[in-house]
């Protein structure tokens, strides 16, 4: 199967019809792609990602993941589908008071016996996997620290390790580097790139900076007011397209 994710006429309306966050969005994602979604704040990037795993219920339209209709899935089926979709967040979404290891293991909750998870019991293999994933993002030595003792970049790496615990086929990242400084941004983006290239995980990420999108994306999708205004290769975004996406008053800002 070539097309891993198919989005058809997806729309989301907030607050009883007053805000149209997504308007009839359709696109497909092939297995192994690194798709970057760009657009201004409020253009619907976060809503789009959250509609794919139904953290936000779409108002209309369909989402197919590996041939399965996500939008029609029962709540039990949805949990199984979500296991295969890792997610990384702008604000990391870690439990600040818990240890790094506990946070990473939380990514495995979709797989473990729910009754054993009540007593915080994880299988030995899962704990080994957690350490392996912490190793991958180079913070194994921080495993027993509290999550909020880590720096922003390290916290986002915990977020990546947590998503890796799901052994995902698709990795979604919602502005993964917006809360980080430019230098750390690249280190985090490189981990995403590594997963994409080495493990063949499909990546969909929203990004603020066009320079980052050009550097890492194999394809770019631009949203404006909830609609797709551009879809194509990074190299196709010229000055005219840039103005179209970000508005006439926008200036290029580089993250080097």
């Amino acid at each position: 199967m070539d097309e891993q994710l198919v989005i058809e006429h997806l729309s989301k309306v907030y607050e009883r019809g007053e805000v149209l966050a997504l308007n009839d969005v359709s696109f497909t994602v092939k297995k192994g792609e690194f798709l970057v979604v760009i657009g201004l704040s409020g253009s619907g990037k976060s809503t789009l990602l959250r509609c794919i795993n139904r953290l936000i219920e779409p108002t209309a339209g369909k989402v197919f993941f590996e041939g399965v209709d996500v939008t029609a899935a029962s709540s039990r089926e949805l949990l199984r589908i979500r296991r295969k979709m890792g997610m990384i967040f702008q604000q990391f979404n870690l439990v600040k008071r818990s240890s790094v290891l506990t946070n990473v293991l939380a990514g495995r909750l979709g797989y473990v016996n729910p009754w054993l998870s009540v007593i915080h019991k994880f299988p030995r293999e899962d704990i080994e996997l957690a350490f392996k994933n912490l190793d991958r993002v180079a913070i194994r030595d921080q495993a027993y620290k509290r999550a909020d003792e880590l720096s922003g970049g390290q916290q986002q790496r915990v977020g990546i390790a947590r998503a890796l615990m799901q052994e995902p086929d698709l990795l979604m990242a919602d502005e993964p580097v917006s809360a980080l400084d430019p230098a750390t941004s690249h280190s985090v983006m490189k981990y995403l790139e590594q997963m994409n290239q080495e493990d063949g995980v499909t990546v969909i990420t929203s990004l603020h900076f066009l320079s980052l999108a050009r550097r890492y994306g194999t394809r770019i999708l631009a949203l404006k007011d909830g609609e797709i205004v551009f879809e194509g290769l990074p190299s196709e975004i010229d000055e005219a397209r840039f103005k179209e996406i970000y508005g006439d008053e926008a200036e290029h800002v580089e993250v080097s």
Binding site: R82, R83, A106, A163
Partner: protein
Amino acid sequence: MQDRYHAELMMDEPDFRKRFQSIRRRALVLLTDVIALSYLWTLASYCWNRFVLGTGSYITLPWWAMIIIAIEIAAVWENFGVSLGMHLLGVRLSSRSEESNPANHALRYLLWHIAPLSLISFFFSSKEEPWHDRVTHLYAVSAAEVEEKRVSWYRTSWKNALALIGVLTVLTAVGVTDMDLYALFTRASRTGRIWTRLLNPNFSLLGSGFRLLIVTIYMAFMATIFAIVVAVPLSFFAARNLAQGIIGRAIYTVVRVAISITRSIDAIIWAIIFLVWVRVGAFPGVLALFVHSIADLTKLYSERLESIDPGPVEAIRAAGGNKLQVILYGIIPQIINPYLSFTLYRWDINVRMATIIGIVGGGGIGQSLYQYMKVSDYSSAGMMMLLIVVTVWSIDYISARLRARLN
């Protein structure tokens, strides 16, 4: 395709809601002003009666006359200036870029008396504004649309009204509470005997007082422990952000109403109810504290739940965690320390309350304190008070230290 979809989503919205909101806002403005003016009138007439005429009655006019006058003043206020209600609800009267004409204000004041008719027809009409607005070219608009000059507070009518309400409230309070500074400063010597006895406690009661003290501390302990068992699960139903769906919302409302009623009934009242129910002693005291603690803890707990970081919850959901796992891994780690801290605080309160509850017959050291006071045995009462002071002080200290470590 895109346009059709867009049209479907946006155009179907009925206009009635907007009009209903507009009408409701006008009604609320009037209601606020009438309440404020009636209150002001009541205070003014009380102060006049009490301090000028020297009588004690509150109102000189019948209540219906007062309401009619308040409505009339509100009408003048709202049509010629910015009333308190208009300010609070963000409404202004604007001529929409036309020249403002005093005659229009006067006309609108007259037409205002048939505004209900105008508003009813407005609800069913297709016009953007009601008839009495259009005729006078004065429209009730949102405050955000109007540019306003800065005016000093003493030249702003709603601020004047608020200041007047403040001053009259204080004056009325002085009147109704029979403040008597003369007695306060001249009759202190009459209590001398009580003070000397209280400060010479009867130490032969140390042993029996100590036993009573233990009863009181355990009363607080029992009440707190059992209240936790009920309040922790209840708090999840009383948190707005966790109440989902119609059933969730209904349970939320019921629990919230129940705890605010329970909380508003003082523990002493609960003690009297339980005294009748299970007979005099320490047990009704425990029950009273228990009921009051449930309500109090549920409120504190649920407010903490309402302010949790939604991020971890989202992350667990995204990883395919079920509802139970979301609570265990996304919510509980965030609330466990605050919950412990609230519980310690409540235990501290319960120890203090347990002594008070003793006074109405709820057992423990409070009960004998009250009995000694009643028979004017002040030195025995002094012993009980000494024990209470030492206990409350040490528990206060311990609980504060523990809470500081939790935060």
